[in-house]
Symmetry: C2
Subunit: 158 residues, 2 copies
DNA sequence: CTTGACTCTGTAGTTGGATATAGAGTTTAT
DNA sequence: ATAAACTCTATATCCAACTACAGAGTCAAG
């Protein structure tokens, strides 16, 4: 009873079962998101099965829009015995605000982009003008600032 | 008439007038987005005033969601005498689609996130659970894939 | 004529979240 | 016994769109 007997998993199995790449797992470990697991006498990582829950947590939190850094904070708080409720809540609140702003901007942008496209259709080719875009835009300067949108994900997996 | 007399601008002036950083201007030049300007005998860049229009174009296209790479294509097409209308249109069309998908996902996500937050409020602190997030999520797996959202811009200017 | 502002080139660093590769050692199946 | 599959560490690379810095030369004002 003292030593709970959990199946020990090698990194490849963890990777397969969690859908997270081996390199990413080691990366998470380096980042502090995963505890350093035990090792076999020859140095192989031996994970307790419950690492899968931790990974699931990380993925869920990521899906919720938390950065790995924020997730790390949550984990640290938890390890320190504190429930990170307030932190979680605060971060989620901020995420929601950002989200609203972003959605708003995107919708506005969508409208403008559509208008732009329609404008081109009406104008046709005017010499020296490239679809109304090169020489001047019909769009007002609402969207000039920032580099809104474009997550243009670097994510290759899934 | 043959030589149109344009005011010559040094890079700092162009930067000031366009709001684009000096380094970025040199970067654009290297990337092919700006033609290589003339130089003074001592090697300083001397821009014709109309570079400002080109820069404005780049910024507008960026604001429309084009990547620098795409903008480069447009400029190349234009230089080759072709009106890039079709390209522009095609890219914008794709942008619109992406945008719609992204907006949709964000809205869905927003709803789920709000629900999550409300769930926590009802639950309160349950020992061992961290706001319903650490051990399990009330959110279905709609959002697990991809790394949606998070432009989390690297842009510092403006 | 000196100070300070400006410019030059070239290289490296930033962000976030990984992925890839090299070169070596280990375990497993046949 | 040997080959295939796996794992180890450490370092480098990717994406976009810049930004920063080092070290040197240039220009304008006082």
């Amino acid at each position: 009873m003292a030593l709970s007997e959990q199946k020990q998993l090698k990194i490849g199995e963890v990777s397969r079962q969690s859908g997270v790449g081996i390199e990413a797992l080691r990366f998470y470990e380096k980042s502090g998101l995963l505890e350093r697991p035990g090792r076999t006498y020859s140095g192989y990582r031996q994970y307790d099965e419950d690492v899968l829950e931790r990974i699931a947590f990380i993925k869920r939190a990521q899906a919720l829009g938390f950065t790995l850094d924020e997730i790390l904070q949550l984990i640290r708080h938890k390890r320190a015995g504190k429930s990170p409720c307030d932190e979680v809540r605060e971060i989620v609140r901020i995420r929601l605000q950002e989200l609203d702003e972003r959605i708003e901007r995107m919708v506005k942008y969508r409208i403008e982009l559509t208008a732009e496209l329609e404008g081109w259709d009406k104008i046709g080719h005017v010499d020296g003008h490239v679809c109304g875009l090169i020489e001047e835009s019909h769009i007002e300067n609402g969207l000039s600032g920032e580099n809104h949108l474009r997550p243009r994900s670097s994510g290759r997996k899934l």
